[in-house]
C-alpha cells in the first residue's frame, strides 16, 4: 500500500529566507504526487501536482517541487518565504484503489518569523 512521510512536524523560517519541506513516498508504480496547503480556518488548497514529464513542477504562490525517483522524494521549495505562507502543508499520493483516493502525510506546520 502507498504511504507518505513528512519527517518534519514543525519548521520555522525567517521571512525572506528560502524554504524546503520534505516529503517521501512509498509506492510501487509511477506515483501521482500532490502538495496541498491548509491555512488557518480554511480548506485545503492545491499548490501543485506531478504526474509525469518534467520532474520540476511549478505551482501557485511561487512554490515548486521536484520529483526524485531515486530518493522517493517530492520536496516542496520556495526561494523567499512571506509571512502569509505560514500554514500547514500536506504531501499526498494517489492511492492504489480504482477510485483514486489520496493518501496524505501527517503534514508540516510552517511558522514564519519576522
Amino acid at each position: 500500500a502507498q504511504s507518505v512521510t513528512q519527517p518534519d512536524i514543525h519548521i520555522t523560517v525567517s521571512e525572506g529566507a528560502s524554504l524546503e519541506l520534505r516529503c517521501n513516498y512509498s509506492y510501487g508504480a509511477t506515483p501521482y504526487l500532490f502538495w496541498y496547503v491548509q491555512s488557518p480556518g480554511q480548506g485545503l488548497q492545491l499548490l501543485l501536482k506531478y504526474f509525469s514529464g518534467d520532474t520540476l513542477v511549478q505551482g501557485i504562490k511561487g512554490f515548486e517541487a521536484e520529483f526524485k525517483r531515486s530518493q522517493s522524494s517530492f520536496n516542496l521549495r520556495k526561494p523567499s518565504v512571506h509571512w502569509s505562507d505560514a500554514a500547514e502543508y500536506f504531501c499526498a499520493v494517489v492511492g492504489d484503489s480504482g477510485y483514486s483516493t489520496l493518501t496524505f502525510g501527517k503534514g508540516t506546520m510552517l511558522l514564519v518569523s519576522p
Binding site: 485545503l44 489520496l102 501527517k106
Partner: protein, 118 residues
C-alpha cells in the same frame, strides 16, 4: 455554490449521541470524498462517492460510521454512538473529474466540520 460547503462548522456532543455532518459539493462535481483529520495526524480517507456507482467505503473505521449521497448532490456523514476518539475535523472534497486525482482532477475541499465528543 462557489465552493464546497460543510455544516455545522463546529459540533460538540456527548459520548453516545449520534451526529450528522453535511457536505454540499460544488455544483456539477460528480465525485465526493470524506476525510477525517485528527489532531496531529494527516487526513484519513473515509468514503468516496462517484456518480451513481457504489461508494468506496473502505476507509470507514467502524460500523458506527455511514454516509449517504443522493445522485450528485448533498452528502451526509453519520456517526452513531459517538466516542471520544471520533473527535476530529471531518473534511469533504469534491471534484469534477471522473477519475479523481489520477485523471488530473483537483480536489476542492470544504472548511471542515470540527467534532468534539465530550
Amino acid at each position: 455554490g462557489a465552493g464546497v460547503s460543510q455544516s455545522p462548522s463546529n459540533k460538540v456532543t456527548e459520548k453516545g449521541k449520534d451526529v450528522e455532518l453535511r457536505c454540499d459539493p460544488i455544483s456539477g462535481h460528480t465525485a465526493l470524498y470524506w476525510y477525517r483529520q485528527r489532531l496531529g495526524q494527516g487526513l484519513e480517507f473515509l468514503i468516496y462517492f462517484q456518480g451513481n456507482s457504489a461508494p468506496d467505503k473502505s476507509g470507514l473505521p467502524s460500523d458506527r460510521f455511514s454516509a449517504e449521497r443522493t445522485g450528485e448532490s448533498v452528502s451526509t456523514l453519520t456517526i452513531q454512538r459517538t466516542q471520544q476518539e471520533d473527535s476530529a475535523v471531518y473534511l469533504c472534497a469534491s471534484t469534477l473529474s471522473v477519475g479523481g486525482p489520477r485523471s488530473g482532477g483537483e480536489l476542492f475541499f470544504g472548511e471542515g466540520s470540527r467534532l468534539t465528543v465530550l
